[in-house]
Amino acid sequence: MLKRLLLRLISIAITLLGVSIVVFVAVRLVPGNPVAMMLGPGATAEDAAALEALLGLDKSILVQYWIWLTNVVQGDFGTSISLRQDVLTLVLGRLPATLELAFLALVFAALLGGMLAVTGTIRRGGWTENGIDLWNGLTLSTPDFLWGLFLILVFGVWLQIAGISGRISPQLDLPFTTQFYLIESVLRLRFDLTANLIGHMWMPALALALPLSAMIGQLLKQSLKETMHLDYVTLARAKGFTENQVIWREAMRNALAPTLTLTAVQFTHLIGGTVIVERLFSYGGLGNLAIDAVINRDLPLIQGIVLVFAVIFVLINLAVDLLYAVLNPRLRHG
């Protein structure tokens, strides 16, 4: 067990190191010069050289990387070029907004996908299942940002029943001490604020959730259907349990594993999707910050954001492995 954990930690470290190298090189390969962006037109070559030296961009890429890495290891991610603030502070300040959005989207996707899967399993082989397949095909083949545009069009423009921008209404007095607004509003029993937050979040969350809900719905339905004619399920039916009870008590746990893996992989995609969707809804999260950083060629900020995303992805995969062990008693004992 300890050995497995150790191996796991080593592989995580290697992954993160790899990501850091790739992003470090990639941001330097894309066209666009941060120094030129900062100085604007009319600056002299001497000005540019001075600024380059100040930012450390005059050194070789290897030396740059080494300096950056040693700093990062000590918790210093550098200073944002465009915002002139500490990168780590910036990123950690925006991260909670994105995490809350992503988790709300995950909850939506799981609920919606789970519901579709269970309904489709109970009504398998009939028109209801065909309808569900059709719906899943539609939601799956439409990307999240198109769903975002669609929702904005329907609820914001035509029906005008929902605000379409921001994280929370700006005129509100906020009692929060952390950036986890949604969680804090619940803990402080300020459900008026929770409602306001959800009112802002549901559309981007739904846009992110719909494609994933289709994947969960289809795969879980497939696994459930395969499980439903196994012997122990038939035996449970003969105990006088309804189809619904049989699905939840006997089939779900055993059918869940493949869906769990898929959801984990796709959840990282979903977090990637927040970049555009947050922009679409002017939601003040990490994704929105990332787009600004790219536009401004803010190298330290981009590197910081990507590394934080990488850490999140690694943690998600770790969480899934742990969940696997909980779901499957054979793994726990083995």
């Binding site: 012997d231 039916r237 105990k239 006088g240 309804t242």
Partner: protein
């Protein structure tokens, strides 16, 4: 002696077609008796059991016929009520103990969920009951077994667990579907004797599916011989063994090894007999086609 299980004119078809899987099946089993269902693979033995319990595969549906338990026609009951009757009055001893237990649930809840969920027992009472029954099937450390997962038990142990679970709610009817075929030959006899003993002790009516006439002779009081989902002969065990009415039954008997003379050469079922069987099926299908 009154019949506890009574099936009359049961026809099951591939869903949405007129193709029959069970052909006009009728049989009755008296209270406390063991009735054998015999036939070669694919004869429809398991289908009869599943039709009674309402767990037919999706692809198959009952087209006509009546199944009654203790005089109660199951077909006229609303779904909830039928589930309650099935859950409280029947149980199954399945064929394969390796696949009949949920791999991700502990043995205890799998044994007691019928008691607590369908019959509304208290959890402690159900657990006591499970422990008693595990002792009855000669499991040494019942407490530990209750807390085990299926993969921690051997095949024989699991089948005992399933037998104990089947008797837990004192069902009126148990469907035992080839309960020993998946087991090691060395434990087969032992398990068979255990089932027979428990059936006698608890006075349970039993439908015993097997393709082994030797087993039938040991545990059953009456028997139905099946071919292609059709009952060829229904008889008490003595009649079947000594004076089979149907040539197919006689042929099956001749094809079964005997204790008395294990060396005797076995006669495969002859083509003439099979032709007779095919003729009977064709006749039945013609009638069915006109209906």
């Amino acid at each position: 002696m009154s019949a506890y299980l009574e099936i009359t004119g049961l026809n099951a078809v591939l869903r949405g077609t007129r193709t029959r899987v069970l052909r006009d099946v009728s049989l009755s089993v008296s209270k406390g008796q063991v009735h054998g269902l015999v036939g070669e693979s694919g004869a429809g033995k398991s289908m009869i059991g599943k039709a009674i319990l309402g767990v037919l595969p999706r692809a198959i549906e009952v087209a006509s016929g009546r199944i009654s338990l203790g005089g109660q026609d199951l077909g006229v009951l609303p779904l909830r009520e039928r589930l309650r009757v099935i859950g409280s009055q029947t149980a199954v001893i399945p064929q394969d103990p390796l696949t009949a237990l949920n791999p991700s649930r502990r043995i205890g809840p799998q044994m007691t969920d019928r008691l607590t969920r369908t019959l509304g027992w208290q959890k402690t009472r159900a657990n006591h009951r499970a422990l008693d029954l595990l002792e009855e099937v000669a499991i040494r450390d019942p407490e530990r077994v209750l807390h085990s997962y299926p993969h921690e038990l051997s095949g024989g142990m699991r089948q005992r667990v399933l037998i104990a679970a089947a008797f837990a709610a004192e069902p009126k009817l148990i469907v035992a579907d080839e309960p020993t075929t998946a087991l090691d030959v060395t434990v087969q006899k032992q398990i068979l004797k255990m089932i027979a003993d428990m059936q006698t002790r608890h006075g349970t009516t039993m439908l015993f599916v097997t393709h082994d006439l030797g087993v039938v002779a040991r545990v059953c009081q009456s028997v139905s011989i099946l071919h292609s989902g059709m009952v060829m002969e229904e008889a008490d065990i003595r009649t079947m063994l000594t004076a089979p009415a149907h040539p197919y039954t006689a042929a099956l008997l001749a094809a079964t090894p005997r204790y008395t003379d294990p060396e005797a050469s076995l006669v495969p079922v002859s083509d003439t007999v099979l032709a007779g069987v095919a003729e009977a099926i064709r006749a039945s299908d013609t009638l069915w086609g006109r209906a």
